[in-house]
């Protein structure tokens, strides 16, 4: 790695902040016995139907049911995403090549374990379930560890950036129950450190990858893969089971109509803006 002084300083700052901001998640939250169903659980502007004619065709009851379902789906995606990132970070902590970030990894792992706990608790307590995982996460033996290291941390960062888009808006939405806002606010606080860390780490891992001399095609393939990862992540926010529970028939076809809808495609670009800007800035080719 090139000059790592700046990376070390960033890690020291973030580790110090992680220590001073440390809270006991198990005593931090107010968990009311139930959340009122006549209030929204999810910001209407964040619903997967927002901006389309379908939003206008749904009854207020259906919109609230959709909001409950999409909120449980969103936290469920977090549970599954955290499982993957914990596995990947665990595989690398205190191994060659990760000497410098390992101290911060301890904070990261500890915090993510707690995030997984509060997201899972929310799902089970108020949704009665965690939506099952649909994405295939195979830990394949890496034939090119430098490439694999870059991709793993790039996926983690992009996932955290997408989640943060929602956390920030849900935390600020005064129409939502205090517990919902608190959950999202606290997650956002921890994630702002993870994202600052991840952006720097991914940039360094990209430089390391470039030092191995990938050709134009290799670099394009990586850009295509990450673009595919971003659209698969967006796709996971559209869950046919949630549509069914909200009384919308033929959830799979409904999902496809929404994913192809011009208003939704414009919204996807907004949700992904930080991620696509970041990839462009570090020089990952666009798909």
């Amino acid at each position: 790695m090139t000059d790592d002084t700046e990376f070390r300083q960033l890690l020291e700052r973030l580790s110090a902040r992680a220590s001073s901001d440390y809270y006991n998640p198990y005593t931090t939250f107010d968990w009311p016995a139930e959340l009122p169903e006549d209030e929204p659980w999810f910001s209407p502007e964040l619903l997967s139907v927002h901006g389309t004619e379908y939003a206008e065709r749904l009854t207020p009851d259906q919109l609230r049911a959709l909001g409950r379902g999409e909120s449980i789906n969103f936290y469920s995606l977090n549970v599954h995403g955290i499982r993957e990132l914990l596995i990947e970070v665990m595989r690398r902590i205190h191994t060659p090549g990760f000497e410098i970030p390992s101290e911060f990894f301890h904070h990261f792992i500890g915090e993510e374990n707690e995030h997984m706990w509060f997201f899972a608790t929310f799902c089970l307590k108020y949704g009665g379930r965690i939506f099952p995982e649909k994405r295939l996460k195979l830990s394949v033996p890496a034939d090119d560890p430098v490439r694999e290291n870059f991709l793993v941390f790039a996926r983690i960062l992009l996932f955290e950036q997408i989640v943060d888009h929602y956390n920030v808006r849900l935390a600020a939405d005064e129409r939502l129950h205090p517990t919902i806002r608190q959950l999202n606010r606290i997650h956002h606080q921890d994630e702002s450190r993870h994202i600052a860390f991840g952006a720097r780490l991914v940039q360094l891992l990209w430089q390391r990858l470039l030092e191995t001399g990938p050709d134009e095609d290799d670099r394009r393939a990586i850009g295509r893969y990450l673009a595919g990862y971003l659209s698969a992540s967006i796709g996971s926010l559209y869950n046919p089971a949630v549509y069914r529970d909200a009384g919308i028939p033929d959830g799979l076809a409904f999902r496809k109509r929404l994913l192809d809808h011009p208003a939704r495609r414009a919204e996807h670009r907004r949700v992904l803006r930080k991620s696509t800007d970041f990839l462009r800035r570090i020089g990952v080719p666009e798909a």
């Binding site: 995982e133 649909k134 994405r135 295939l136 996460k137 195979l138 830990s139 893969y225 796709g235 799979l252």
Partner: protein
């Protein structure tokens, strides 16, 4: 090939136009007929087909690995219905 598999084969073909015959024991994941990013779309399609919810974990991925496994695990009995 059992008729119950036809929609699955059609789905795979639509996404891999260059694909010829798909042997029942071909590893769809290893051979990237369904890559990891398209897998969720594949699962949602299968759920719609079989009318129940499916879940994918690293430990259960083998259930989706070949046409044969998909038939055995999710479509058994549908062909004779």
């Amino acid at each position: 090939m059992n008729d119950s598999l036809k929609p699955v084969v059609d789905w795979l073909r639509a996404r891999n136009p260059a694909l010829g015959e798909i042997p029942a024991d071909l590893d769809l994941i290893e051979n990237r007929i369904v890559d990891s990013l398209a897998f969720m779309e594949f699962i949602l399609f299968l759920e719609d087909l079989v009318g129940r919810e499916l879940s994918v974990t690293e430990l259960s991925a083998d259930q989706f690995r070949t046409l044969h496994a998909i038939e055995e695990n999710f479509l058994a009995g549908e062909g004779s219905r």
